[in-house]
C-alpha cells in the first residue's frame, strides 16, 4: 500500500466529526416534524383536526344517548322541539324538525372527513401513478397523459361534478359516488404537481447511481425518486382535503350529494336556509364547522410546507 507511486503520503486516519453527537439517527422527516411542532398555527390546526376526528369516530358511543339521534325525529310533541335556541340539553339548538343540531354537526363531520379524505386518496392514487409514469418515461406517454389532464382541467369543476352525479340513479346515492366524483375530478392537479416534482428529482445523480448499479425502474421510482418527490404532494394533498370538503358541502347544498335528511354540513345549510332570519343557528353551526375544518386543513398544509422546506432549517 505504501509503495504506490512514491512521494504520495498515505491517507491520514479519518477523524469523524462529532458535531452531530446526541442527534444520532436524525432523519429528514424527523427534522420536519420538529419544525412543524414549532409552528403554533399548524399545531392548533392539527389539534382541532384531532378533536374533530375523535368526535367523529366516537360519536356512536355518546352523541345519540346524550343529545338524541341526528336523523330520526319524533312526531309526538315535535312542535315544542322545533327551531329551539341553544339550551343545556341542546347546546346548538334544534332544527326545523326538532333534531339536535349538535348531534347533526358531529355526525356531519363523519361525512365531511370521510368524503374529504377518501376523495383526496382517490386523486392521489390516480395522480401519483399517472404523474410518475408521465415524468419517468416522458415522450409520447407524457404528452398523452398531460393532454388528458388538460381536458379534465378545461371543464368547470362543479359543473362536471353536477353532470356526473345527476345521471346517477337515486338508489345509488350515498357517500361513495360523491367522493369518487370529487376524487376523479381532482387527479389532474395532483398529477401535474407530482410530475414536475419527479422531473426535478430524477435528474439527480443518485438516481443515475442507482441505474448504474442495475436497479430496476420500480426500485428507482419507489426507493429513490418517490421519497424525495413526495413533499409537495403532502402539502397539496392536505390542502386538497379542505377543498374536497367544500366541494361536498356545495354539492350537498345543491341537493346532489347525499340523500336528503343525512347529516351533511352542506345539506344542513340547504335545509336551514329558509329559517336564516328567524333561527340563524341552523345555518350558522354547520357553516362554522365547514369553515373551521377547511381552515385547519389549509393551515396544516401551510405548516407542513414550511416544515419540509430545508432552506428554513433552524
Amino acid at each position: 500500500m505504501k509503495d504506490y507511486r512514491s512521494g504520495m503520503p498515505s491517507t491520514p486516519p479519518f477523524q469523524p466529526d462529532e458535531q452531530h453527537a446526541g442527534h444520532e439517527n436524525r432523519t429528514l422527516w424527523g427534522d420536519a416534524w420538529n419544525r412543524l411542532r414549532k409552528n403554533r398555527l399548524a399545531v392548533i390546526a392539527l389539534m382541532w383536526l384531532v378533536i374533530v376526528t375523535a368526535a367523529a369516530i366516537s360519536a356512536d358511543f355518546w352523541v345519540p344517548q346524550v343529545f338524541g339521534s341526528p336523523t330520526v325525529f319524533s312526531t309526538s310533541g315535535a312542535a315544542e322541539l322545533r327551531l329551539k335556541p341553544p339550551t343545556l340539553a341542546h347546546p346548538m339548538g334544534t332544527d326545523d324538525v326538532g333534531r339536535d343540531l349538535f348531534a347533526r354537526v358531529i355526525y356531519g363531520s363523519r361525512i365531511s372527513l370521510t368524503v374529504g379524505v377518501l376523495a383526496v386518496v382517490v386523486s392521489l392514487v390516480i395522480g401519483l401513478i399517472l404523474g410518475s409514469l408521465s415524468a419517468f418515461y416522458g415522450g409520447i406517454l407524457d404528452a398523452f397523459i398531460m393532454r388528458i389532464a388538460d381536458i379534465f382541467l378545461a371543464f368547470p369543476y362543479i359543473l362536471f361534478a353536477i353532470l356526473l352525479l345527476s345521471v346517477l340513479p337515486d338508489n345509488l346515492r350515498g357517500i361513495t359516488p360523491v367522493f369518487l366524483t370529487i376524487g376523479i375530478l381532482g387527479w389532474p392537479s395532483i398529477a401535474r404537481v407530482f410530475r414536475s416534482s419527479v422531473l426535478s428529482v430524477k435528474e439527480n445523480d443518485y438516481v443515475e447511481a442507482g441505474r448504474a448499479l442495475g436497479a430496476s425502474d420500480i426500485r428507482l421510482m419507489l426507493r429513490h425518486i418517490l421519497p424525495n418527490a413526495v413533499a409537495p404532494i403532502i402539502v397539496y394533498g392536505t390542502m386538497s382535503v379542505g377543498g374536497a370538503i367544500l366541494t361536498e358541502a356545495a354539492l350537498s347544498f345543491l341537493g346532489l350529494g347525499l340523500p336528503p335528511g343525512s347529516p351533511s354540513w352542506g345539506g344542513m345549510i340547504q335545509d336551514g336556509r329558509i329559517y336564516l332570519t328567524s333561527s340563524p343557528g341552523v345555518v350558522l353551526w354547520p357553516g362554522l364547522a365547514i369553515l373551521s375544518t377547511v381552515l385547519a386543513f389549509t393551515l396544516l398544509g401551510d405548516g407542513i410546507r414550511d416544515a419540509l422546506d430545508v432552506k428554513m432549517k433552524d
Binding site: 500500500m1 504506490y4 507511486r5 512521494g7 504520495m8 503520503p9 498515505s10 491517507t11 491520514p12 486516519p13 479519518f14 469523524p16 466529526d17 452531530h20 444520532e24 439517527n25 436524525r26 432523519t27 429528514l28 415522450g139 409520447i140 407524457d142 404528452a143 439527480n204 445523480d205 443518485y206 443515475e208 447511481a209 442507482g210 441505474r211 448504474a212 448499479l213 442495475g214 436497479a215 426500485r219 426507493r223 429513490h224 421519497p227 424525495n228
Partner: protein
C-alpha cells in the same frame, strides 16, 4: 496486460430540441464524435478536456448510462451495447461509476448503510446481516467510521460523502471504475486525500480506472496514460510521461502551459499559450480540424481537411497535421522527473 476496455468509433449526438410529440427540430450536439481508445487491465486512463468536450458523455456511454448514437464499446471482448437483461446486470457488477458532485450523488433519504449496501440488495448478495457487515467493511476500507452506518448523508462533509460514493461503487468488487471528476467539487486538501485513497484502492484491489478530469494537474497524479479531448474529438493520447514531456497537439500544449509549475523561476521563464475566444459550438463544429479556429499554428489545410489520429511515437498518437513537426512546444518546461505537488 490485455485490453479490458476497447472503445471504437464512439459517437453520441444529442438532439437539440424535442417537441412534445417526439419529432425533432434543430440540429444535433456532437457531444462525442468518432472516439476510439483502449484501456488495459489495471491501468488508469486519464480523460482530459474543457467543459463540454464530451469526456463525461464518453464515460457515461461506457457504463451504459447514455446510449451512444453509434460505435462499439468492448468490455473483455464483449460489446456492451448488445447486453440486455441478465447480461447487462452482470456487466453492472463489473463496471461502476463515481460521480462528480458528492452532494447530488447520495440519496438524502437513505442512511449511508443503506446506500453502501444497496448494490448488494439489488444483486441479491448475502443475507441482510451479511450486507450490513459488508457495508461496515466498505466504510472502513474508504476510511470512514463503520459506526456511522445509520447516519444520513447530510451529516457528512463533501470529502466524506465522496468516500461514501466510492464505497458504494466498490461494493460489488468491480474491475473497472469510471471516475467522473471525482475531486473537482472538493477542497484542494481533500482532493489529495481522495486521490490517494483511489490510488491505494487501485493497488489493493487491482482496479482499472477511467479518470475524467478537466485539470491536468489532477490527472497527472493518477494516470498511466492520458487522452485529451477537444469538442467531441480525441486529439492526443499517450503515456503520461511522454505527454507531459513532448505534447504534440497544440491544444495539449496550451493545456499544459496552464498548469502552474512549483518552481517560480520556471514558471516565470515559461511562455503561456493563451487560447483566444471560447470553444466553438458543438452544434455546428468548425470544418476540418475542430481546433483550427483557436490554434496558434493553423494553416490553410487545417480548415479544409480533418486530421486523423496517427502515431507520432510508439504508443503516442495525435490528431494534428503538424504533429510530427511540432513535437517540443515552445516554452513548456517540464521537469524530467515529476514530483507531486499535492499531498
Amino acid at each position: 496486460m490485455s485490453d479490458l476496455l476497447r472503445v471504437e468509433s464512439l459517437t453520441k449526438h444529442f438532439a437539440v430540441q424535442q417537441t412534445a410529440l417526439g419529432s425533432r427540430l434543430g440540429g444535433h450536439v456532437m457531444a462525442v464524435d468518432d472516439v476510439s481508445f483502449t484501456v488495459k487491465e489495471g491501468e488508469t486512463l486519464g480523460l482530459v478536456g474543457e467543459s463540454g468536450c464530451g469526456k463525461s458523455t464518453t464515460g457515461r456511454c461506457i457504463i451504459r448510462l447514455t446510449e451512444p448514437t453509434s460505435g462499439s464499446i468492448f468490455y473483455e471482448d464483449r460489446n456492451i451495447r448488445e447486453l440486455r437483461g441478465k447480461d447487462l446486470k452482470a456487466f453492472r457488477r463489473q463496471a461502476q461509476f463515481i460521480f462528480q458532485d458528492p452532494y447530488a450523488s447520495l440519496n438524502p433519504r437513505m442512511t449511508i448503510g443503506e446506500i453502501v449496501s444497496e448494490p448488494l440488495v439489488i444483486h441479491q448478495e448475502g443475507t441482510r446481516f451479511e450486507q450490513q457487515a459488508r457495508a461496515k467493511e466498505l466504510l472502513d476500507v474508504v476510511g470512514l467510521n463503520p459506526e456511522h452506518i445509520n447516519r444520513y448523508p447530510h451529516e457528512f462533509s463533501g470529502g466524506q460523502r465522496q468516500r461514501i460514493g466510492i464505497a458504494r461503487a466498490l461494493a460489488l468488487n468491480p474491475k473497472l471504475l469510471i471516475c467522473d471528476e471525482p475531486v473537482s467539487a472538493l477542497d484542494v486538501s481533500i482532493q489529495a486525500q481522495v486521490l490517494n485513497l483511489l490510488g491505494e484502492l487501485q493497488h489493493d484491489f487491482g482496479l482499472t480506472y477511467v479518470f475524467i478530469a478537466h485539470d491536468l494537474s489532477v490527472v497527472q497524479h493518477i494516470s498511466d496514460r492520458i487522452a485529451v479531448m477537444y469538442l467531441g474529438k480525441l486529439v492526443e493520447i499517450s503515456d503520461w510521461k511522454a505527454l507531459y514531456a513532448k505534447p504534440h497537439h497544440p491544444y495539449t500544449q496550451s493545456l499544459l502551459s496552464a498548469v502552474p509549475l512549483p518552481d517560480p523561476k520556471q514558471q516565470r521563464a515559461r511562455e503561456r499559450i493563451i487560447l483566444e475566444g471560447d470553444p466553438p459550438s458543438p452544434i455546428d463544429p468548425p470544418s476540418g480540424c475542430r481546433f483550427h479556429t483557436r490554434c496558434p499554428i493553423a494553416k490553410d489545410i487545417c480548415s479544409a481537411e480533418e486530421p486523423k489520429l496517427r502515431e507520432v511515437a510508439p504508443g503516442h498518437s495525435a490528431a494534428c497535421h503538424f504533429a510530427a513537426l511540432n513535437p517540443v512546444p515552445i516554452g513548456i518546461a517540464r521537469p524530467a522527473e515529476f514530483t507531486p505537488i499535492v499531498g
